[in-house]
Amino acid sequence: MKRVAITGMGVVSALGRGLPAHSDALKHGRSGLKALSLFTAEGIGQRPVGEVAPEHLWPGTRASRSQRLALTAAADAIAGRTLAGPGVMVLGSTTGGIDGTEQHYFKHRGKEGALDRELLRNHPLGTIADRIAHELKLEGERHTFATACSSSANAIGYAASRIVAGAPWALAGGVDALCRITYCGFYSLKLVSEGPCRPFDKGRNGLSLGEAAGFVLLEAEEAVRARGGKVLGWVTGWGCSADAHHMTAPHPEGAGAIRAIKLALEDAGKAPADVHYVNAHGTATPANDKMESLALNAVFGAAMPPVSSTKGATGHTLGAAGAIEAVFSVLAMGGSFTPRTVGLSDPDPEARVLHAKDGPVDVRCVLSSSFGFGGNNTALVLERGDA
C-alpha cells in the first residue's frame, strides 16, 4: 500500500487525555487500572478496570458515554482544522450506546411505553459517527465497523485504503465505553481477571476491561507536503483474515493471525526483520497470549522484535483497542521507546516472545495486532513520521 500520512491523533483512556499524557504514562509503565466505580455488579465485585476520568468526557447529556469519549478523541485528532470537501469517517465500535440500552432494559424489561425512551436513542452503532459528524461539522461518508476487538484497527486500515484511492481526508478510530454487558459478559466466559491483568505472564488469568477512544487523521502525502504539514507517522500496511474456527476461541496455532500479520507486512513491503516493535493484542487471557506468541514466533522467528501489550496499562478497550494502540505505536516511534508490558513479572515460557524493556531505542516500524470475536484477525504496519 502506498504510505498514508497520519497528521493528527487524539486519544482518551484511563491514562488520561491527549498525546503527552499517554506518552509519559507508557514510557514510565504507569497503569490506569483501578476498581470499577461506574456501576456495581453483585456477585462479581469491583474488579480492576480502565475508567476514563469524568473531566475527559465531551460535555453534553444527550450523548451516550461512547459518543462523549469518541468526540473528545476525534476533536483532538482534528485539532480545530477545517477539513475541506467530503471525506471519509471510519469508526470501530463493539457496543456503541449499549450503556443506555441496558439501563432501560433493567428498568422496563422490554415492555411497551415511552418512559425513559431517551436511553434507547443512541443504541444503534451508527449513531456515534452521526454524532461526531454533527458536532464537529464533518461532511462525507460515515462507516462504522463492528468486528469486535479488531474493529478500529480495521477502521484505520480501510480508511488508509480510501486515502490511497483518492479521498481527501479520513478520520479513523474507535471507541467503546465500559458497560455491564461486557463486564458481565466476559465474566460469563470466565475471562475477567480478579486483579490487574498480566499479559504474557505465567500467572495471567484473564483480562481487565477498559474504555477509551482513539482517532487518527489520515491524508495523502502529497497533500500534506503541499501545505507544509507535519507527518506524525505513516500507515503502510493492513492485513485482515478470518479464522473460520470458533466464535470466541482463537485458532490454536494462530493460523488466521499469521495470515493477517503476513498480509500486513506484504502490504507494507516489509520483511519481518524490518519491524522494530510489536504492539501485541496481548489480552492476558490464557488462550490469546499463547496463540499470539505462536503466531509471532511463526512470522518473526529469530528476528523477533521487542513485544509488549499496553492493555496492562489501559485495560482491554475492545473496539477502541486497535486505534489507541496505533496511536501508542506512533508515540513510541516518535519518542524512541517501547512501552513495557505493565503487569508482567514472570514471563510465561509457553507464551514466549522478546519482551520490550525500558530505555531509549530506535523504533522506525511497528506492527500492531488486534483479534476479535468471530475469529477476526487484523494487523497494521505503522512507520515513523517526520522528526
Partner: protein, 249 residues
C-alpha cells in the same frame, strides 16, 4: 468506478407481503444452523445461496447489520436482570456482538479472507457494499460476498413504538456476490453521502418498499430479467444517503 464490478449472484430472504417474519428459513434440518440466533441463520442462508459452489480462495466477506444480535443482547440482559450479574449466558454474550453473523458465515462456509461487519443504521447493507467494492478495486480480494441481515425482536418493536413510529419493521436478509469477472449485471454507480442533521432521530422513516440490500437484490433480478438499468436510493436517519445503479452488461 475502476475496475468494472459485476454482481455475479444474489440471494434474498424476505417475508411475504404483510408479514414481518418468514415462515421457514429452509435450514431447519441443518444441525449446524438450526440453533443459531435468527440473525445468524438468515445471514448464513443467503450467504450459502449466493456463494453456491464459488471457491472461497480470494473471497472477502462484508456483512451489514444495523442492530446485529439484538435477541441475544436481550437474552443476555434478561439473564442479568432475572438471575443476577454473575449469571449471564456466555452464548448470548458472544452472539450479541454485531460480528457474530460474519463469524458464523466464515466458520460454516470456510471463508478465511478479509472480513468486515458494517453498521450504519438503514445504510448498513450499502456501506458493506461500498467497502466490498473498494476492496475489490484495491485488489485486496478477487471476489466479495456482501451480506445483510436483520432480525426482529419484540423489545425493538416496543422501542420503535416508544418513539412514535408507525413502522412495523420486518426481518430479512440479502446477499450479493461481487466480482470483476463479467456477468449480466454491472454495478455502475455507488455513492454514499451524508448531510448534517440536528435531529438524531431514533425512528426509521417508513418506506413503501423493502429495504437496503433486499431492494438492491430485487433490482439486480430485474436487470437480469431484461431491464436496462435500475437505480436504488436509500435514505437513513442521521442524514446518510446511498445511491446505487445497476445496468445490464
Amino acid at each position: 468506478m475502476s475496475p468494472r464490478i459485476y454482481v455475479s449472484a444474489t440471494a434474498v430472504l424476505a417475508p411475504a407481503p404483510g408479514a414481518v417474519k418468514l415462515e421457514k428459513l429452509g435450514d431447519e434440518a441443518d444441525p449446524k444452523t438450526k440453533r443459531l440466533p435468527r440473525v445468524d441463520r438468515l445471514a448464513v442462508a443467503v450467504a450459502r445461496a449466493a456463494l453456491g459452489s464459488t471457491p472461497t480462495d480470494g473471497l472477502a466477506l462484508m456483512v451489514g447489520t444495523n442492530l446485529g444480535g439484538l435477541q441475544a443482547t436481550v437474552d443476555f440482559l434478561e439473564g442479568l436482570a432475572a438471575r443476577g450479574p454473575q449469571f449471564g449466558s456466555p452464548t448470548a454474550f458472544h452472539e450479541s456482538v454485531h460480528h457474530a453473523p460474519a463469524g458464523q458465515i466464515s466458520i460454516l462456509l470456510g471463508i478465511t479472507g478479509l472480513s468486515l461487519t458494517c453498521s450504519a443504521r438503514e445504510l448498513s447493507g450499502e456501506t458493506a457494499l461500498k467497502a466490498g467494492v473498494d476492496l475489490l478495486a484495491a485488489g485486496r480480494a478477487q471476489r466479495v460476498l456482501v451480506v445483510c441481515s436483520e432480525e426482529i425482536v419484540p423489545a425493538m418493536q416496543a422501542a420503535y413504538r416508544a418513539f412514535g413510529s408507525t413502522l412495523e419493521p420486518h426481518e430479512g436478509a440479502a446477499a450479493l456476490l461481487l466480482s470483476t469477472e463479467k456477468s449480466e449485471v454491472e454495478l455502475t454507480r455507488l455513492e454514499l453521502s451524508s448531510r448534517d442533521t440536528s435531529t438524531l432521530r431514533f425512528v426509521t422513516p417508513p418506506r413503501d418498499t423493502e429495504q437496503g440490500l433486499i431492494q438492491l437484490v430485487r433490482a439486480a433480478e430485474r436487470v437480469r430479467a431484461g431491464s436496462a438499468s435500475e437505480r436504488v436510493v436509500t435514505k437513513a436517519q442521521g442524514g446518510g444517503e446511498a445511491t446505487v445503479e445497476l445496468s445490464r452488461a
